[in-house]
């Protein structure tokens, strides 16, 4: 008798662990009855619930609520990145529980459009604000005539480096990847304890951006034809980039720590890594870390290039606001998505308090932004020097509708490579095979 109870408990616990989120819940989460982190100024107005994780976001919300009579934002921080996506994904499956407006990184937009989770904002006049945003950022959120989100910030890439370490070991700032490899060798030969840079196997969008710089176009996907996909992750450009890093890893010139762990964060700020290949939000990330070297002097330089004569700019990260299919009042939600970062005042908060890099042209092209001096970089005007040019050269990027799977597979293959189980070329060929197989299983026609 007892064994039956025990064994049943086993079955139940297993299933319950995986499925608690799937059971339909009575709570709707949308608009009415939701608890807000912020204060509602006009209680008569329509409330729109928003999930977002920007730092210092509360002030932006307050600004919006103070300047809008008919719509009010009810904001919740539902976690950062995957934490939020997990909740959103569960809400989609359950059919309720999603917010009206949600912050999403551009890399996951097609993963949600394919599940019909996002509203086409073109119906609510989003195309009218197209001119307010940079071309690359706009292309990231649109598919044909459909507009699935309003872009907020982007991540043009640059090279953050430790000027003090470079000076100590007499290293010149590298402008090409060849010079970069030479600098890594030079640093090691000079007897430094640290390395020039870390190559994380779990870099996900970071690795993808490095491949894109060498011309990789991993996915061809258009949500107007949601069952067709083109997959090309083992092209010559990607292989060139990954082989380059494999050589540096094999020569012991770079480390391969996992990114965004406590070890990695410490190494970033204590001088173990002399370079942080980063997006424009990188400085904000660095400043949030503790235990920094007091002697650390950070500067920004452009990302090294494969061909100095024909520079290619790439983007790592970037966030957007989308309206969910579960939104009760879609028009009001569209107003929030469009307007929340649609003013110069909101952007000043975003830039100065949250280190966001705008896609909003009126700020992006302003003298205020270009000439902003950053004490963290010794007063360097990093936007004028590096990031504005990087942002201007970015033309957009297409991610797959199963990007989480693609990133997980990329991580596994790159880990196998740095473990010496296979070479760069083999790793990318295996990645291609696994993605084509997965796409087939998921009902896509692979071209």
């Amino acid at each position: 008798m007892k064994f039956k109870i025990l064994a049943t408990a086993g079955v139940v616990a297993v299933a319950a662990a995986a499925l608690t989120g799937c059971a339909p819940t009575a709570d709707s989460g949308s608009s009415a009855g939701a608890s807000c982190t912020n204060k509602i100024v006009n209680t008569e107005a329509t409330q729109v619930s928003v999930w977002a994780w920007y730092p210092a976001f509360e002030e932006v919300v307050d600004l919006f609520n103070n300047t809008h009579d008919d719509v009010q934002i009810c904001w919740t921080n539902a976690g950062q990145g995957n934490d939020e996506y997990t909740k959103f994904s569960t809400a989609i499956e359950a059919g309720s529980g999603a917010p009206d407006v949600i912050m999403l990184e551009s890399e996951v937009l097609s993963s949600f459009t394919i599940r019909n989770a996002l509203v086409d904002l073109a119906e609510f006049g989003a195309a009218d604000v197209k001119g307010d945003y940079t071309e690359g950022a706009w292309s990231d959120v649109t598919s044909g005539d459909a507009v699935y989100a309003i872009p907020v910030d982007s991540g043009p890439m640059g090279m953050l480096y430790r000027k003090d370490i470079f000076d100590t070991y007499g290293i010149a700032t590298p402008t090409t990847w060849d010079e970069f490899a030479a600098a890594a060798q030079q640093l090691k030969d000079a007897g430094s304890d640290g390395v020039l840079v870390n190559f994380p196997t779990n870099g996900r969008a970071f690795n993808q951006a490095l491949f894109a710089q060498a011309g990789s176009v991993p996915f061809v996907y258009d949500s107007a034809k949601p069952t067709d996909i083109g997959i090309d992750v083992n092209d010559d450009g990607s292989k060139k980039v990954l082989s380059y890093w494999q050589e540096l890893v094999d020569a012991g010139l770079v480390t391969t720590d996992d990114a965004f762990t406590a070890d990695y964060n410490t190494s970033l700020v204590d001088g173990t890594y002399a370079v942080y290949l980063a997006a424009a939000w990188g400085p904000g990330y660095l400043q949030g870390l503790s235990d920094a070297d007091s002697s650390a002097e950070w500067r920004v330089a452009p990302l090294p290039q494969w061909d100095a004569a024909a520079p290619v700019q790439v983007n790592w990260g970037g966030s957007t606001f989308a309206v969910t299919a579960q939104a009760k009042d879609k028009a009001a939600a569209a107003v929030v998505a469009t307007d929340i970062f649609g003013s110069d005042e909101a952007w000043k908060i975003g830039i100065e308090k949250a280190a966001l890099f705008p896609t909003y042209k009126s700020i992006l092209e302003s003298d205020y932004f270009a000439e902003l001096e950053y004490p963290f970089f010794g007063g360097q005007q990093i936007n004028k020097d590096v990031f504005l040019e990087a942002a201007a050269g970015y033309g957009g990027f297409t991610f797959s509708p199963f990007q989480n799977y693609a990133f997980d597979q990329l991580t596994e293959q790159q880990f196998a490579m740095v473990q010496g189980e296979k070479d760069a070329s083999q790793a990318l060929d295996d990645l291609q095979d696994s993605l084509v197989k997965y796409a087939g299983e998921q009902g896509f026609t692979v071209k």
Partner: protein, 315 residues
């Protein structure tokens, strides 16, 4: 332990069922019984039975990103039992079970036997100390070990440095298996020790006296008398450990955040189900994986209990 309670309870049940449908007082009693059971029954049905049925119903459908959802009967189960990733995960937890459970049992048994022979304040204190890791939430324990294993923050670098050696990388692919076994053993041995210890305290001391008179030494008393006397508790501990190991999830999931390459998303079947559902939006296949694992846990437990029915007193 409760074999006698079980036998004692059975006649009671039989008597009551024989009387049911009898007097009016009895029916009134039954109504009150339902009244008292109702709160539990509602929660039990609402939060356990309904979700389980719903999950099972989901597992009978197949959804793909591009083509939507279709009812496909047991296709997901066929897929699960031919899915190399799922089978690999099963193999891995089986390997964990083979190595981890004996270690946990030996540590727990040894600690319980030693504590049973001590009668000073030291025994109470040690008992508490051995139990403490179980009181720490699993997630916190795994996070803590993540830091202890870290080449940068962990003590290993300093300790090995004293002898001029390089510390091993506990989070490397080759070492992660052992590192996980260490965490689980640390966390659970104390709990199993308490179960075994309380069984030992329940043994009639006069048996030990008889053994002493017959000339048995401490070791002989322990191996020939104590261990056989508490075999039913040992079987129970084993079945707990077996079910827990087959459902291995929290420790590798937490450690994954610092060792992503060494612990892939499909490291254990439970992690695979979790990733499928919440990361890849394949709720249907995830339900099928979860149920498949549940079936295996059920069959595994049943077979194990069948073969140990003599020791466990459950025949």
């Amino acid at each position: 332990m409760s074999s006698d309670t079980l036998h004692a309870a059975t006649p009671g049940i039989r008597r009551r069922s024989a009387m049911s449908g009898g007097s009016r007082i009895d029916r009134k009693r039954q109504r009150w019984g339902w009244f008292f059971v109702a709160p539990f029954a509602l929660i039990f049905i609402g939060f356990l039975i309904v979700p389980l049925v719903y999950a099972f119903w989901m597992s009978l459908q197949t959804s793909t990103l591009a083509t939507g959802t279709q009812f496909t009967w047991f296709a997901n189960y066929v897929k699960a039992f031919t899915d190399p990733i799922f089978l690999e995960g099963l193999g891995r937890v089986a390997a964990f079970a083979f190595i981890m459970i004996p270690i946990q049992m030996l540590v727990a048994l040894a600690a319980a036997l030693v504590l049973d022979t001590l009668t000073s304040w030291l025994s109470k204190f040690s008992r508490l100390m051995i139990f403490v890791p179980y009181a720490i939430p699993v997630v916190i324990g795994a996070l803590m070990w993540g830091f202890l294993y870290s080449p940068r923050f962990g003590p290993a670098t300093d300790i090995f440095g004293l002898f001029g050696l390089a510390a091993p990388d506990f989070l490397a692919q080759s070492a992660i298996f052992g590192s996980l076994i260490n965490i689980v053993t640390w966390q659970w041995s104390g709990y199993y020790m308490i179960i075994i210890y309380s069984a030992l305290r329940g043994v009639d001391p006069s048996i030990y006296e008889a053994a002493r008179i017959d000339g048995a030494n401490g070791w002989q008393t322990a191996t020939r008398i104590k261990v056989p006397m508490i075999s039913s508790s040992m079987v129970m501990v084993l079945i707990f450990a077996l079910i827990g190991t087959l459902q291995f999830f929290t420790e590798p999931q937490v450690l994954r955040s610092v060792a992503q390459g060494a612990i892939p998303v499909s490291y254990t079947p439970n992690m695979y189900a979790y990733t499928l559902a919440f990361s890849y939006s394949q709720f249907n296949y995830a339900s099928a994986i979860a149920f498949s694992l549940g079936i295996i846990v059920f069959i595994g437990s049943y077979i194990f209990l069948f073969f140990t029915r003599k020791q466990s007193g459950l025949k």
